[in-house]
Symmetry: C2
Subunit: 348 residues, 2 copies
């Protein structure tokens, strides 16, 4: 089932004609289209009429005070796109006639598609509506921990979406490069610890750089796809990273690089979610503990627009048992449709 | 005037309850909210009811066949966002109760804001709906040629929008680098010709690379901001580039690099628009004529998804009076929210 909504929007300075005159001017179109009108009483909140037409078409005309006219057309899958486009064209022409010369802005937005087999709308971390060019659902499963989806985008390739959050796409080498230090680090002969990183992107890039040893911890949710990945210079541990970090800290095992690629910083900026921040701080504390004096800790932060969440994260950095300094970098990750902040943290 | 639309979408397998039962289940919410109901006759195209409430709120409930429920809430500027969110929360909870265990997908989309002072919706070249984080209209004017807008985005900085097309933002050094050959060229001591490039980005980067001479042609629409830009190694000509290109071709004046940064390839892929393609071919032909044997011609193409338009452009390349070869590169320009194709063209 696909269900389209088209939006047509007119903005004009205080009207030269009144709302009923606008409605009256559009009448001929509705009559031609054999649409049934209903007038709604808004108690002084502008003119509001709805029209039911062929094939389940439903049209909403509102004339707001201060000169805004909105026309919404809802149509169903079986409907003819050319016909519905034509209907909007006719209404557009009529309204241009009626408001002649007094239109400040006119805009028709791309139709919102709902109920389609494949969902194209994956809002950004800062809550903006964005439509992806998704054409296929490659994989979906509810694990014990989260909803896992892989969707195919024509331009970005396969996109991993966890609980509705875009995590990584084939196009996003920029993410992997950024969370490894933006190409400014020398991995050769170094000991590297990756927390999370279930997609394997960091491990894949890291081994190219001839490190001494990469230890990678993944949560069980990543399945057994990477279980066989064990080689001369890397080891994949499919288990919770916290107990392992604790063991390393007790044993005094240390690393040149710790890369935290666990699922994102909670988007909520509510400070009362103490437990989430405490959990993040626990991982941070343990990570810094297993970091060598000249080592670097890398992680992704959040989108640039969520300044409160970023500030809260930086606050955690100031509360660690070992004092640290940090720098940040803003990176464009293609499939994110928003700029993203990455952190580098080191011991003072 | 700001006008919000919220969308709530439920998809469930063939219903365990019928449409009137769903509508009946929601009744208590509408009664509590003192909303006036209208039932619409869709002639067998599912259940459709609308509700007018306080502050001009208007709610549309549709139950489609094959198990799709959509709820749209239109609210006005004066309305309380917490209250309207609450209303949607109540409906969401009720529907979860009614459809218990049979919900396949549930989604609430960010509200579509219409009639706001600053427009946040600038669809991509391939026609997708994307919302920008626009917070200010910096400049707007209708020139003799086009509508010129500069909007401020919190993350991308100022964005130049020509006739509704996102052209370039402060964040988009990637565009300038790509249209100059992706950092693989040596500009030192070279003769460079820029067609268009009114924003000055290419010129700004080019002079850093110590070329022999940069000649830049801009259309008059760019105003006189750059009129004073004349230096040891560059010259800005504010005039139509076609007569100048013809003069150069007649005089036998040639360049190492020709960079075409005129306004974009027409998005329409209709082959009957011969005149547009012929115009583009004229510029291409003249550009290749003034190109030295080992010279490079750079230009931006289109978004990766408009494959037909790209194919048409490449067809033009095969029709030039001087045979050429070309390569292309896909680049992520941050403010575009879609991947973009750039061309390098050279004489065979």
């Amino acid at each position: 089932v696909v269900f389209h909504t088209n939006t047509l929007l007119f903005s004009s300075p205080p009207f030269p004609v009144d709302s009923p005159a606008i409605a009256h001017g559009l009448q001929t179109v509705f009559q031609e289209q054999e649409m049934t009108e209903t007038l709604h009483n808004t108690e002084g909140r502008g003119y509001l009429a709805t029209y039911v037409g062929k094939n389940g078409r439903f049209l909403i005309v509102r004339v707001h005070s201060h000169g805004l006219v909105t026309i919404d057309l809802q149509s169903s899958e079986g409907d003819d796109v050319v016909q519905t486009d034509n209907l909007l064209n006719l209404l557009e022409e009529k309204l241009k006639d009626i408001l002649k010369g007094n239109i400040k802005r006119m805009k028709r937005l791309p139709a919102l598609m709902r109920g389609a087999q494949v969902d194209r709308y994956w809002p950004t971390a800062d809550g903006r509506l964005v439509e992806y060019d998704i054409d296929e659902l490659v994989y979906e499963e509810d694990s014990a921990y989260q909803n896992i989806k892989i969707l195919h985008s024509n331009q970005f390739g396969n996109i991993l979406i966890l609980n509705g959050d875009v995590n990584l796409a084939d196009s996003d080498l920029a993410y992997t490069q950024a969370i490894m230090g933006g190409g400014r680090e020398h991995y050769e002969g170094k000991d590297v610890l990756i927390l999370g990183g279930g997609d394997g992107g960091i491990l894949c890039e890291a081994v190219k750089l001839k490190p001494k040893m990469v230890t990678m911890h993944m949560r069980k949710t990543c399945g057994d796809v990477l279980d066989n990945l064990q080689g001369d210079c890397y080891e994949v541990l499919v288990e919770d990273c916290v107990p392992v970090l604790k063991k390393f800290a007790e044993e005094g095992k240390t690393f040149d690089y710790v890369i935290n690629d666990l699922t994102a910083v909670p988007i909520s900026t509510a400070p009362e979610e103490d437990s989430t921040w405490e959990f993040l701080r626990l991982i941070l504390d343990l990570s810094i503990k297993v970091l060598r004096p000249n080592g670097r800790y890398f992680t992704q932060g959040n989108c640039v627009n969520l300044t409160e969440a970023l500030a809260l994260y930086e606050e955690q950095l100031s509360k660690l048992s070992c004092p640290v300094d940090f720098s940040k970098e803003v990176v464009c990750v293609p499939s994110y449709m928003e700029l993203w902040v990455f952190y580098t943290v080191w011991k003072k």
